[in-house]
Symmetry: C2
Subunit: 387 residues, 2 copies
């Protein structure tokens, strides 16, 4: 464009991303992202869509036909599942043990559902007995929602057990796997999960803003039996399916985020190449190194029980008298390392340290432990009353 004066791209600081997401991105994924776009109805793009769906099925361990990336962040994935599955008046049981269970309850309430919540302490998994009791008292429940890996607390729930209970009571499940997908074992089909959503910017190490979703035939049957149309056009799975399905006559719904899908395809190829089991093992091993190092620094994990502690997200208690925001700020400014703050009732009380996907590397653990050790030694203690 001859009218445009040369102007340099403004560069952003480079960060070591060890928060709750986005995680770091493999250079090959960034390279795929930056390929010039092609049309969203181009045969080459349609071929890529089919590849992405197959690779997502591998990541989710499912044969579900309806497996696709929602054109929006993880919470748009959550919205897609709830908006399609829940009708006004439906009774819905939601397990709350962190921010994202609470968000599920908010979405279901906005849709006019009769929401029954079961609560567990933050940092604890969802208690299967509470779910069983809630369904026994509410046999007319249609949908059960819970979070597999709570990003706000670092606790893992037993998705297989919970889905089994829901199924015995004839309910379909909505399951949040935003932080678990490719970081912790997840078997959508074997465990009988129905409507499952995730995000791309966690263990997949892709750009934020795209949300893998898979929908079982049982869930699809409930959607097909709706008495009322889905209240949003954008999230209507019937319409999205018309665009993403393998039918020869794909119908235009919205313009797909083609560059994000270039990147997603590449990040999923990397997952396939490494293999899910090896990826899970890598997250376990490297987080173990982190936990031991934190222990040497005198720091305690919020989730005591190692069997329910997420390897990809370690939630650490802030020691008494430490200004947690000052620590995060110094790590960012002096070392370029991002770690996450506590959310909701945990604000000011914990740090959330992510080792997700491409961020989950030994050198990142070493850099963080070094920097954290220095900052903690260095930092003036604040008086305990403000701690």
């Amino acid at each position: 464009m001859e009218n445009v004066i040369e102007l340099p791209v403004r560069t952003l600081p480079v960060r070591t991303l060890m928060g709750s997401g986005p995680s770091e991105i493999d250079p090959r994924v960034l390279q795929a992202l930056a390929q010039p776009p092609i049309g969203h109805l181009d045969p080459a793009f349609v071929g890529l869509m089919d590849e992405v769906k197959d690779l997502l099925r591998y990541a989710f361990q499912t044969e579900n036909r309806l497996t696709f990336p929602v054109s929006g962040p993880g919470s748009a994935g959550m919205e897609t599942c709830f908006t399609n599955l829940v009708e006004a008046g439906d009774k819905v049981v939601i397990a709350r043990n962190g921010v994202f269970g609470q968000r599920m309850a908010e979405m279901a309430t906005r849709l006019g559902a009769e929401v029954v919540t079961i609560d567990d302490e933050w940092g604890q998994p969802v208690d299967p007995q509470k779910l069983e009791a809630a369904l026994e008292s509410n046999p007319d429940t249609k949908v059960v929602g819970f979070v597999h890996a709570e990003t706000s607390t670092g606790a893992l729930s037993d998705a297989r057990l919970l889905a089994g209970i829901a199924q015995r009571y004839g309910c379909v499940t909505v399951v949040d796997t935003v932080t678990s997908l490719t970081g912790s074992p997840l078997y959508v089909d074997d465990w009988g999960l129905d409507a499952v959503y995730s995000g791309a910017q966690k263990c997949l190490s892709c750009v934020p803003g795209i949300a893998p979703v898979t929908i079982s035939d049982r869930a699809l049957e409930k959607i097909n039996q709706r008495q009322t149309p889905v209240s949003t056009w954008f999230h209507d799975i019937g319409l999205i399916d018309g665009y993403w399905s393998e039918s020869s006559q794909r119908s235009y719904h919205h313009t797909a985020p083609v560059n994000s899908i270039f990147a997603l395809a590449e990040s999923l190829r990397l997952v396939k190449q490494e293999g899910l089991e090896r990826a899970w093992e890598r997250h376990r091993e490297i987080s173990q190194t982190l936990v031991m190092g934190l222990d040497r620094l005198g720091l305690e994990m919020m989730v005591d029980d190692a069997s329910i502690r997420l390897p990809q997200l370690s939630v650490v208690n802030v020691p008494q008298g430490i200004d947690e925001a000052a620590v995060r700020s110094r790590l960012l400014q002096e070392d370029g390392i991002e770690i996450g703050a506590g959310l909701g009732p945990l604000a000011g009380k914990v740090w959330r340290i992510g080792l997700m996907g491409h961020s989950c590397r030994s050198e990142n653990v070493e850099r963080l432990l070094d920097a954290l050790g220095r900052v903690l030694t260095d930092l003036p203690k604040v008086s305990s009353c403000s701690g």
Copy 2:
């Protein structure tokens, strides 16, 4: 990651994008897109968010505080405007003169609105007299929706005139500027437009999947007076505002698509650098060359009247006896040029040729005219009964 075997990034075909979007992307925008992500609460990102909002205000020609990119494609922008402004039972007048006016009517209907439609022939602008008559007959109308530049027909409506009428009847307007933003004159504040959405992949020449939105104080007032909560959590402007507003305490809503916003910032800087008036002039001039060239090839524009014809999207009648899909396919396969098909009732009858943003260059016009001339001469005529 030592476990990963080297695998090459699969390259996609390079296309000359002259369809209805995505348009081509300036290499500087692709370079910005591919910068390693930083956290969505990182101070450097928060600074970028403020810059993006300022640049969007320039592009929209508005002072609206609430001006931000929705984390989704253009239709998510549409959904954001309707979901927040329309309550069940509200009377809404929608002008339909193409696919996107029809989509507005569908969204409003799903929200439980009482929808009154006014219809104009495809290829014609919205008739202000019909709007006036509809509002006179329906004085309890709350919201008026119309499309500024219809992407399905290439016709421009007089947004200033239509908004003026709506305002006289005490209505707020929802205006689709997906294809007009930075390609045709648009003055949100001067024209009194209320809830205005666009897409990034048209004249902004950014990646698809991000939707600029601006909301006037009048519209915000209507939203604040809602009797019922917004039915979706993801599109709730109150929550989005808490994340995008300048308040010192930004509250987390969802993880912003940070890489797409890197790209959007760069594409908006290019718009600012060129200047809106020069960008509009460039679209006018170069499309004039295209129209003259098409005329020499014996092709006719669907929109006769040059004064309402979009420079950034030329809709061309397919000549009698020509297999339009075969032409598009040969352009794509032999020359790597994408042009668009007709949508809805125009399927098979028109081609849509985009000259949007970075795609709007003389060399693209020359390449297309050359290729189209050759393909049309070359192509066997099909019998008129199948034409």
